[in-house]
């Protein structure tokens, strides 16, 4: 091989890392087949899709499905609920795992720390149906522990699951109960990777525990927090369909019906693929824009972003 390549051309790089590129192929092919090809399926959002005619022969209806979504009488209510519930969850639940991770990190007794970790991870593995069942029993008006306590304190029993003013708080609380413990994993990992010398240095300079947390731990895990926040915003329109579906009932639809549950109820048994796809596409567009926006914002404000 007498020819020499300019070291900056892609051919040079390709040749140099030939085996690496070769190994990349299966991954790229899989990604293409399973993640990009199916995207063409979104055309059915613009069709009156009929499974017997297939994607190619189904009739195109333009934006009809979107019109149906936006003009349906419940859409504003459902959209409002989605944003409110999601926002409440974001505000109340997002900071919790960070705080708990920091607190856990400060525990000296390893045995105690491990036990606490195991216990708070547990709820993550319980499915929503079970969680709903648990809370329905705990909060029952006839014989539920919480209402028994309320009654002995002289308070009227509260039908949490049936009461409009309480239901959203209930959603936030149960979501928190189930997800907060698991959410600490990422932050704990981030804290562990902080260089211990920083702490030593701080201690020599006379910093106390609180100062260590504020000036070392938090700044060090800030990129992780921002990353998690951006990812979390991407699912803003997913206010917890699975959770709400097993917990709500006609009395609280007004405050808890979100896009996911609405589509489920309306499309129920109708096999309305086009409509569901249209809703899915709408969700994706909003979520993607949110991610782009927060990413841009965090780049400007904190000089930290995911790309």
């Amino acid at each position: 091989m007498g020819t020499s390549y300019d070291q900056n051309t892609w051919r040079y790089h390709f040749k140099k890392h030939r085996s690496l590129y070769l190994m990349l192929i299966p991954g790229v092919v899989l990604l293409f087949i399973f993640n990009y090809l199916p995207m063409f399926g979104t055309v059915i959002a613009f069709q009156d899709f009929n499974i017997f005619q297939g994607v190619l022969k189904s009739e195109f209806v333009g934006l009809d499905n979107f019109r149906r979504l936006f003009t349906s009488p419940d859409f504003m209510l459902v959209f409002k609920n989605t944003v409110i519930i999601s926002f409440l969850k974001l505000v109340f639940i997002f900071p919790l795992p960070i705080m708990i991770a920091i607190l856990l990190n400060e525990i000296r007794l390893q045995k105690f720390k491990k036990t606490v970790q195991t216990i708070i991870y547990l709820p993550h593995f319980i499915s929503w149906v079970i969680v709903a069942g648990l809370f329905i029993n705990l909060l029952s008006v006839n014989g539920g522990i919480i209402n028994n306590i309320l009654q002995t304190l002289g308070h009227e029993p509260i039908p949490f699951f049936l009461s409009k003013p309480h239901f959203r708080s209930l959603l936030v609380f149960t979501e928190g109960w189930k997800t907060v413990g698991w959410g600490t994993i990422v932050y704990l990992a981030a804290i562990v990777s902080i260089d211990q010398e920083q702490y030593e240095g701080a201690r020599i300079d006379g910093a106390n525990k609180l100062q260590e947390i504020i000036y070392i731990t938090i700044p060090n895990i800030a990129p992780t927090i921002i990353l998690m926040f951006i990812l979390r915003l991407g699912t803003l329109l997913e206010a917890g369909t699975e959770q709400i579906l097993v917990m709500y009932n006609p009395l609280v639809y007004e405050v808890s019906d979100v896009i996911g549950t609405y589509v489920y109820r309306i499309g129920l048994g109708a096999s309305d693929y086009s409509f569901s796809t249209a809703v899915g596409l709408f969700n994706s567009v909003v979520s993607f824009s949110l991610v782009l926006f927060t990413n841009w914002l965090s780049k400007r404000l904190f000089d930290s972003s995911i790309w």
């Binding site: 009929n50 499974i51 017997f52 297939g54 009488p73 329905i136 029952s140 008006v141 006839n142 014989g143 039908p159 699951f161 049936l162 409009k164 009932n249 006609p250 009395l251 639809y253 007004e254 109820r265 309306i266 129920l268 048994g269 109708a270 096999s271």
Partner: protein, 488 residues
């Protein structure tokens, strides 16, 4: 070394591509092909079931059975049909039948029936065959519901009746109401628990049970009838006076059973004869020697009384997909299965082995009957309608208490209301909206009963109901009904 790998790869490749071309059993002339039958969701293994064996031995056809999944059954069915899977026989719900037929996925059966399905034509009623026709063409064999029956009542335990000194069950709405008030006053039990929007024993007192009725030659939906509003108002009164379980909207069947059998609730609506065995057992573990008594359809202020008569009309259609390679054989096979002797054997088994005659009634012999015929109905590809009315009763007698409860509930048959549209073909428009409208109505009723303050007015609800497919459905049924009247 390298060679070996290549050979191994080649073999694997062959195996993968080989899977694509499934060898279809054409069979030589005279030899019976292997048939594929697809049935509705149920959790059991049809290919290992004793009934499958009996069918194969008696008809000489080897059949591979497949079951639709519990979840998204219709999606799976549509997908299979759209992909032209080589299924020879499908047993599906009326709305699925209609959809598949109108998409052109099913084979017209009229000629095949004339040629190979003479018995099938005889054992099903003309009424049912009429229901099976879509634009004058038959695409499926109708399987009529076995026998109309009432399956609900309000349960109460005998011990409570004794404690309260009640020796006869309440028969009018007034008596029942007075009893609920007494329970509220004298005990700390929930007077009445339940899980559904409509309690048939109470709504019957206002003359409404069936979702659809025909009044003065017109098809009407239950929301158009005055009785429903009166029912809602009555239930609102009960709810306001604290006579209903406040957790009704989040109750489900296991929940109300638990409340009832543990003695937390005095009366339980939605009691079904199918619950009798397990619930009596659970009750007796808390209240030894007590039984479950029942409040039947109550008489209302205007003397009306009602219950819902279910299991009328056509439950299933059995069809042959266009993609099938063995259409004639499939028809021959189904015809063979309804020959009287074989049909009897398939449904209830052999005398002396699976059933016996006792007190003039056919009684199942246990456990042989449940072991070997429990899922017999899943395999049916048509019943012998008249014979099956009797055979089916054996299924209610599998447990003594079950049969007894079933028999008792049937006093309501005389005044029960049935759905006159059960025999109507599944029309496209109503099928599309049915589920949604039902949910909408139930949700509204529950909301109105338990949170009167926040629920919209009945007029508002009605307006929305009509706008979101209600009116369209009613019109579609009326159009069909006028056509139907002309036919006779």
């Amino acid at each position: 070394m390298n060679k070996k790998i290549w050979v191994a790869l080649l073999v694997m490749l062959l195996m993968i591509t080989g899977c694509g071309q499934k060898t279809t059993d054409k069979g030589e002339k005279g030899e019976k092909p292997v048939l594929r039958q697809l049935g509705f969701p149920r959790n059991f293994d049809p290919n290992g079931d004793p009934v499958a064996k009996v069918i194969e031995d008696a008809t000489g056809y080897k059949v591979e059975y497949e079951i639709l999944p519990m979840e998204n059954a219709t999606d799976k069915l549509n997908l299979m049909m759209a992909n032209k899977e080589k299924i020879d026989i499908i047993k599906v719900r009326p709305e699925q039948y209609h959809k598949l037929a109108s998409e052109g996925a099913l084979e017209p059966l009229d000629d095949l029936l004339k040629e190979y399905g003479k018995t099938l034509l005889e054992v099903n009623t003309d009424e049912a065959w009429k229901a099976a026709k879509i634009d004058g063409v038959t695409y499926g064999i109708p399987e009529q519901a076995s026998r109309p029956f009432v399956s609900s009542a309000i349960a109460v335990r005998t011990g409570l009746l004794e404690e309260m000194g009640i020796d006869s069950m309440p028969e009018t709405l007034e008596e029942f109401y007075a009893l609920l008030v007494r329970i509220k006053k004298e005990t700390d039990m929930i007077p009445l628990t339940g899980a559904t929007a409509i309690v048939d024993e109470i709504s019957g007192a206002f003359g409404v049970n069936s979702e659809w009725t025909i009044e003065d030659g017109k098809v009407k939906h239950i929301v158009e009838r005055e009785g429903l509003q009166e029912y809602i108002e009555f239930m609102q009164k009960l709810s306001e006076e604290g006579l209903l379980d406040p957790e009704w909207p989040i109750n489900d069947v296991p929940k109300i059973q638990e409340k009832f059998t543990s003695g937390k609730a005095a009366f339980m609506a939605n009691y079904n004869w199918g619950f009798a065995g397990a619930m009596t057992e659970a009750l007796q573990s808390n209240f030894p020697n007590e039984e479950i008594e029942m409040v039947m359809g109550l008489k209302g202020p205007k003397g009306l009384q009602g219950a819902f008569l279910q299991s009328t009309g056509v439950n299933f259609y059995i069809a042959i997909p266009k993609a099938s390679d063995h259409k004639e054989e499939a028809m021959k096979f189904m015809d063979a299965k309804v020959q009287p002797e074989l049909f009897k054997n398939l449904s209830i088994g052999e005398k002396g082995v699976h059933w016996e005659e006792k007190d003039g009634k056919m009684q199942p012999i246990l456990p042989a009957f449940t072991d070997e015929r429990n899922n017999a109905d899943w395999f049916n590809t048509s019943t012998d309608y008249n014979a099956y009315r009797e055979y089916w009763l054996l299924r209610t007698r599998k447990e003594h208490i079950l049969g007894e409860t079933f028999d008792k509930m049937q006093v309501q048959v005389d005044y029960a209301e049935e759905n006159p549209l059960a025999m109507a073909p599944p029309l496209e428009v109503p099928s599309k909206y049915a589920q949604k409208l039902k949910t909408m109505m139930d949700d509204y009723i529950i909301n109105a009963i338990f949170d009167k303050g926040s629920a919209p007015s009945y007029e508002e609800f009605l307006k929305r109901f009509m706008a979101e497919g209600g009116q369209e459905s009613i019109d579609a049924y009326n159009e069909w009904y006028q056509e139907y009247l002309k036919q006779d």
